[in-house]
């Protein structure tokens, strides 16, 4: 680990402690080598993610801050620009639009902005993006249910989702797998079960 990346991360962590109260973001060390961090963002209002707590895995390359941090979602999320399977993120500032003056704080704020403003035409998850464009109601329902199920977002849970998920698990399928299939097929239980059996 180069000394500049360590110093930078140390200063960023110090700054973020004093500056980010009330911003619904958090960053902590995961190991003592400053290469591995954990972040947290709270889903912004007026989105299906509202109030959910989304954990992020942050890996700092040796060449930081001249190369971007590697960030992915640890908490499962239903969003066109985030893989529902791996948590990989499609965000330009984490790729070729990175600049050394950007910080982990600006990255997390940009991710919060991404939750508010998806870009389905530049997807990371093609299935989610298609649903977003073709069946917005199903997308919103699924994204909200995932946020409640995985990120502890508050509010009454969709009864239709709960019932169908229960039916699928009663047939012997794992909960995560069932939820994935139901989400993919916009809560059509028969199609989802068909997919699970094949």
């Amino acid at each position: 680990m180069s000394s500049i990346s360590v110093t930078r991360i140390q200063r960023e962590l110090k700054d973020i402690k004093s500056e980010c109260s009330g911003q619904n973001i958090k960053i902590e060390l995961y190991n003592d080598e400053y290469t591995n961090l954990r972040g947290e963002i709270v889903g912004p209002p007026e989105t299906p993610y509202h109030g959910g707590v989304f954990k992020l895995i942050i890996k700092i390359p040796e060449s930081y801050p001249f190369n971007p941090p590697k960030v992915s979602f640890e908490t499962k999320i239903w969003h066109p620009n985030i893989s529902s399977v791996t948590g990989a993120i499609c965000l330009d500032i984490l790729k070729d639009q990175w600049a050394a003056a950007l910080t982990l704080r600006t990255v997390l704020l940009s991710l919060q902005a991404l939750l508010s403003d998806a870009e389905p035409d530049d997807p990371q998850d093609a299935v989610v993006a298609r649903q977003f464009k073709e069946n917005k109601r199903a997308f919103l329902k699924t994204a909200k249910f995932w946020a409640q199920h995985y990120a502890h977002a508050p509010g009454p849970v969709d009864k239709d989702c709960v019932e169908k998920l229960k039916k699928a698990t009663e047939m012997g399928f794992f909960k995560d797998v069932s939820l994935e299939a139901l989400s993919k097929y916009s809560w059509n239980l028969e199609t989802a079960i068909q997919h699970l059996t094949n």
Partner: protein, 181 residues
């Protein structure tokens, strides 16, 4: 809520980061060296691509940071090149505000102290600490300010301005002599 002016600048005018997505992965670069050469984002193909993309407004990002009422008074950015504005840092309340340079109540010392609360955006060290250590402060042709080691390392690693990503060489930077007694 303490926030230094240059950081506000980073968030509110992030020429570098607009929070948009890209389909194309950047080729993985080796982590073994600090002098990793990034693929130049200003190449014609990339530029054409980015023009086609809908960009999240910078204001969107700002709105999120300013969700609490305490933040409302904060001012977007400080232009060091403009003599009409200066940041004032209040140590008691931990707030930074911009005041007019011509304001009769603002003493020169206060102004100087305020300017020195600024940081190098790469190493995040305060300018006053850097000057104390005898480090040279440098500005780029695009007007962005860094400590000398950071801007030179950045240029070797990426050939770009760390703040706005304009193409840079060591020759397109120059020392900045702050008028501090």
């Amino acid at each position: 809520m303490t926030r230094d002016a240059h950081e506000i600048q980073t968030v509110q005018r992030p020429l570098a980061g607009r929070g948009t997505r890209r389909r194309h992965r950047q080729p993985e670069t080796s982590d073994s060296s600090n002098d990793v050469i990034l693929v130049d984002s200003l190449s014609p193909t990339t530029t054409a691509r980015s023009r086609r993309r809908r960009r999240v407004q910078n204001d969107d990002i700002v709105d999120l940071t300013c969700s609490t009422p305490n933040n409302v008074t904060e001012v977007p950015f400080v232009d060091l090149t403009s003599p009409s504005q200066l940041v004032r840092h209040n140590n008691r309340t931990g707030t930074s505000t911009i005041t007019n340079n011509n304001h009769p109540e603002t003493s020169t010392e206060e102004q100087q102290a305020a300017v020195l609360r600024l940081k190098c955006p790469v190493c995040l060290e305060h300018l006053d600490k850097l000057l104390e250590r005898g480090s040279e402060i440098r500005s780029t042709n695009c007007g962005h300010v860094f400590c000398k080691p950071c801007i030179f390392t950045s240029i070797r690693a990426t050939h770009k301005c760390p703040t706005c990503r304009k193409k840079l060489t060591e020759r397109t930077t120059h020392p900045l002599y702050l008028p501090i007694s």
